[in-house]
């Protein structure tokens, strides 16, 4: 049991280090066990150091930095047991434009080997995707699906200015 856990821990930790370095464009992070002798009696600590900063405790990171760290952890778990299909629901909500774009580019790379569906209100994300599906609701409380929605029409969505990267 302990051997099996440590093998999984090692694999995911490797993925996590790589993913965080990629998504944070130069930071570094790792997973630590509270009790290395008996891992199942302690917890899992996430340590992250954004680029050009000192390591701080997870709760001293900013909202965006925390969510980027959590997302790297999720992607590291996904990479451990690849599946043909993934769905992400508004994972880019706390990120500024640059971080949201980094995440969208990482998903784009992963979508070469698996199908990704990402629910998002952000234009940087919509721009990276291959296909866009719009969901709207008329005044009758019934949802409808719109194909090839015009991003410009989505003006009510947070989005990067059309003229900006």
């Amino acid at each position: 049991k302990k051997v099996g856990f440590l093998k999984i821990f090692g694999g995911i930790n490797e993925n996590f280090k790589k993913t965080f370095a990629e998504l944070s464009a130069g930071g570094d992070a790792e997973l630590l066990l509270e009790n290395e002798e008996d891992p199942l009696s302690g917890g899992l600590i996430i340590k992250a150091r954004p680029k050009d900063k000192k390591v701080v405790r997870m709760h001293a990171l900013s909202g965006g930095e925390k969510s980027l760290t959590a997302l790297s952890f999720i992607f590291a778990i996904q990479a451990h047991e690849p599946s043909p299909f993934y769905l992400l629901d508004e994972v880019d909500m706390f990120l500024d434009g640059i971080n949201a774009e980094n995440v969208a580019k990482a998903v784009k790379r992963s979508s070469k080997n698996a199908q990704f569906i990402q629910i998002s209100l952000r234009k940087v994300t919509l721009k990276e995707s291959d296909h866009i599906i719009g969901v709207t609701m008329q005044r009758d409380g019934m949802s409808e699906v719109v194909f090839k929605p015009n991003i410009g029409d989505m003006a009510d969505n947070p989005a990067e200015p059309a003229d900006q990267p």
Binding site: K1, F5, I8, F9, I12, L33, E34, P39, L40, G42, G43, L44, S67, T69, A70, I74, I77, Q78, E81, P82, S83, P84, F85, Y86, L87, D89, E90, V91, M93, F94, V107, S111, Q115, F116, I117, Q118, I119, S120, L121, L126, E128, S129, D130, H131, I132, I133, G134, V135, T136, M137, D140, G141, M142, S143, E144, V145, V146, M154, D156, N157
Partner: protein, 170 residues
């Protein structure tokens, strides 16, 4: 193998029969608050993860049936089909297309509903769904599906809870 199409009928806010064709690669879904985007995620989990209603934000399964919206009559059953392209036979069924359908209908029984499962329109069971999906490594329990709020939950959880995520994988 990939998800080729989703069909919904009277599932949450999708009252009308709705078809959502999907392609390979990277698809984004967008729209205003409350439009029904996360309801699409719930529809997929409804078919793939029948074991837990917690996952689809419902107190009871009948909460998933269209409630009438502004001024229509509530429906009495909801139906969702997931249509997979199966050329690589990842799902152990000898057919290029595999359609998994789940129906929940209001009933007088003790639970208050009946639940039906179909594979390519032939009557099936929860057990058959489980074994077909396990082969294709599509599981509703792992982090293949990142629901709205999961990021915040991971940030806020204790070190012990985070470790338990790895236990489940082991």
């Amino acid at each position: 193998m990939y998800l080729k199409e989703i069909e919904l009928e009277n599932f949450k806010s999708f009252a009308r029969k709705t078809r959502i064709p999907l392609l390979h690669g990277y698809t984004s879904v967008t729209g205003p608050n409350g439009a029904g985007k996360s309801n699409v995620t719930d529809a997929i989990l409804f078919v793939l993860g029948p074991k837990s209603s917690r996952v689809i934000r419902a107190g009871k399964l009948t909460d998933l049936i269209f409630n009438g919206g502004k001024d229509k009559k509530p429906a009495t059953e909801c139906k969702v089909s997931l249509i997979f392209s199966n050329e690589d036979r990842l799902i152990p069924i000898d057919s290029n297309i595999v359609k998994l359908t789940r129906v929940v209908r209001v009933s007088e029984s003790a639970d208050g509903y009946y639940s039906y499962f179909y594979v390519n329109d032939r009557k099936s069971s929860l057990g058959e769904f489980d074994s077909l999906l396990a082969n294709a490594r599509i599981s509703a329990d792992g982090y293949n599906f990142v629901q709205q709020g999961d990021i915040t939950r991971i940030v806020e959880m204790s070190n012990l809870e985070r470790r338990r995520i790895l236990d489940d994988i082991a």
